[in-house]
């Protein structure tokens, strides 16, 4: 069971006291989260943790899920893809069915909490009940809508305007034509989860021994699924450019390829590109957070040379482990890395190779970047900050002033 007090040794007592203080200010207010699935996916994962944390600081939080049949979820999947910029054919019937399902849900659900916190597009239309219920409504968009298709965006915008405020994960996701307050709340990592918690040296050694990786020489690692957008082939090119001058090893590790035909194709191409080089370790892994944690912690330098990213939280995960990170300046990565302060931002294969050589040759510089990077994550990307901002968000719908005194 997640316990807010266990974060105190990481964040300091005052940060936890603040959460209790804000929770107290929300006393008597009921907050209901609504999304479209109870399990699977990042939204359900964060709600599973956020609900209990909110309750622990005194917020009367609950969570409900909308119902829909396969036809509804086919439409919502198309909406999701279109928000990501994919060309999707929509019929009038698609929007009608989406609306009909939303209204059926609205009839059967209790939407009377003081603050209705609606996540993503699937339940967005529930806000039609706001006028009748006179409560506060917030829409949390977890999707990158930078390249959203106009037809779908316009449809959703009609409903966004009924909310009291909306929330996006990165500045570029915001829109000029949204008339309600737009808040930025970045995603976060949980420093106590299996993916991020401290590990014993033996736990790390065991994993490296299992894969036959020599830790006496520098280990460079990219953790990501085998996907062209993560540019694993580019990473191998980087390694080859660097290997001429610096003896090092490369780990490309990720999972989730078995049920993805393109993933398997990428995996095969990566293997072919690696050839017979025994210092390139290509690891197709099952979902195992502790294993990933150990690989990151045992590595010397972490790469995230993606061509496109949503937020790219793997960067924060690596920085939290105090690793020097070289990552592409895409998606939410520039929010996590300030170039040459808390890591290095790159735009090309040659650039990545150049920075990689720099870090391999200047370990003190690499260590300083890693130290700064960890501090930045500690201050800005932990789940406690995420919780604090959700509490402030709830308070903000009752307090509109620029400066609010408590």
């Amino acid at each position: 069971m997640i316990d807010i007090k266990k974060y105190e040794h990481i964040t300091g007592k005052s940060a936890i006291d603040e959460l209790y203080f804000l929770g107290e200010k929300l006393k008597g207010k009921k907050v209901k989260n609504i999304n479209s699935t109870a399990v699977g996916g990042g939204v359900a994962e964060i709600l599973t943790k956020m609900g209990p944390l909110m309750k622990q600081v005194g917020v009367d939080a609950s969570w409900d899920v909308i119902k829909g049949d396969q036809k509804f979820f086919v439409v919502t999947k198309k909406i999701h893809n279109a928000l990501h910029g994919k060309q999707e054919p929509f019929s009038a019937e698609d929007f009608d069915y989406f609306s009909q399902t939303a209204r059926e849900n609205a009839k059967s659900m209790d939407l009377s909490a003081d603050i209705m916190f609606v996540h993503d597009p699937q339940p967005i239309m529930l806000v039609e009940k706001r006028e009748e219920l006179k409560n506060k409504w917030i829409w949390r968009c977890h999707v990158d809508i930078t390249e959203a298709r106009d037809e779908v965006y316009r449809f959703l915008r009609n409903y966004i305007s009924f909310y009291d405020s909306c929330v996006f994960s990165a500045p570029s996701f915001s829109k000029k034509d949204i008339t309600i307050p737009q808040v930025m709340i970045c995603p976060s990592i949980d420093p106590l989860s299996d993916k991020n918690r401290e590990l014993e040296k033996e736990e790390i050694d065991k994993v490296f021994e299992k894969f036959g990786i020599d830790r006496s020489r520098p280990v460079i690692t990219q953790i990501s699924r085998f996907d062209y957008l993560k540019d694993p082939l580019g990473v191998i090119k980087v390694y080859k450019l660097v290997k001429k001058y610096n003896d090092c090893q490369l780990i490309l590790a990720g999972g989730g390829a078995t049920d993805d035909p393109e993933g398997m194709k990428v995996y095969e191409e990566v293997k072919e590109s690696a050839g017979n080089d025994k210092d390139i370790h290509i690891l197709l892994l099952p979902q195992d957070d502790l294993l990933i944690n150990a690989l990151q912690r045992g590595s010397d330098i972490i790469l995230q040379k993606s061509l496109k990213e949503g937020f790219g939280l793997t960067v924060s995960e690596a920085l939290w482990k105090e690793k020097p990170v070289i990552a592409s300046a895409v998606g939410g990565i520039p929010l996590q890395i300030t170039h040459k302060y808390g890591g290095l931002l790159t735009y090309s294969i040659d650039g990545t190779a150049y920075y990689l050589k720099q870090l391999l040759n200047e370990p003190a510089y690499a260590a300083q970047l890693a130290k700064n990077g960890k501090e930045h994550v500690k201050n800005n990307f932990l789940i406690t900050r995420h919780l604090r901002e959700y509490l402030l968000l709830f308070l903000s719908v009752y307090n509109k002033e620029d400066v609010v005194y408590f």
Partner: protein, 208 residues
């Protein structure tokens, strides 16, 4: 003797949905955004990166340097003496004047690459009690050692520019309790060129 109550502050970041691709757009938009946005972009770095060396001091300079690669203009924007301004409006005018002058001289003002735009933001500030109070100089010094860094930030930066007071909160209280000399020395400190932890040390150093 009046008590000093240490408060702290936390921010909720707001997105304005407005972006700039070049110096001209940056300048024109900066002229019209709310002052809370000017405050956010000139002070965010102090909080988010308080463990770093003091630079870069504001988002405008950082973007002009790192995205537009116009180093001379970035340096001009970075070296604006924020501490000398008593209002955010004056600070805004100075930043805009630097950019306007740059454009007038026909200096480089190209567009950034798509996706690298400057996004205007602002923040809503919530001020909270810390539970720490000081009734005299000795207690003040002891509390100053232990309060959260955000509390020091609030009393030094927020009070003066955003809440439009002539002095920072520490100075005002020190004057009230008759410690004029320390208050004056504190007034001579440029808090924008120092990390927050070092600022704490410097203030402590003034109160022997």
């Amino acid at each position: 003797m009046p008590e000093f109550e240490f408060k702290t502050e936390i921010h909720l970041v707001k997105l304005l949905g407005i972006k700039a691709r070049n110096i001209r757009e940056l300048c024109e938009t900066l002229e019209s955004v709310p002052l809370s946005s000017v405050y956010y972009h000139t002070h965010k770095f102090l909080k988010q990166h308080h463990f770093l060396s003091p630079e870069p001091p504001n988002d405008f300079a950082y973007w002009v340097n790192n995205t537009l690669n116009i180093r001379m203009l970035a340096e001009k924007l970075a070296s604006v003496d924020t501490v000398k301004f008593s209002s955010l409006e004056e600070l805004r005018l100075q930043l805009c004047a630097i950019m306007a002058e740059w454009l007038k001289l026909g200096m480089p003002a190209n567009d950034c690459a798509a996706g690298d735009e400057f996004h205007f933001m602002s923040c809503q500030t919530f001020i909270l009690p810390t539970g720490h109070k000081a009734a005299n100089l000795s207690e003040f010094r002891e509390k100053l050692k232990i309060v959260d860094i955000n509390s020091i930030y609030f009393h030094i930066f927020e009070a003066r520019l955003r809440l439009k007071k002539n002095q920072n909160d520490f100075q005002s209280w020190l004057m009230e309790i008759g410690e004029k000399e320390i208050a004056e020395k504190l007034g001579n400190l440029d808090p924008y060129n120092i990390t927050l932890e070092n600022l704490r040390k410097r203030v402590l150093g003034l109160i022997k």
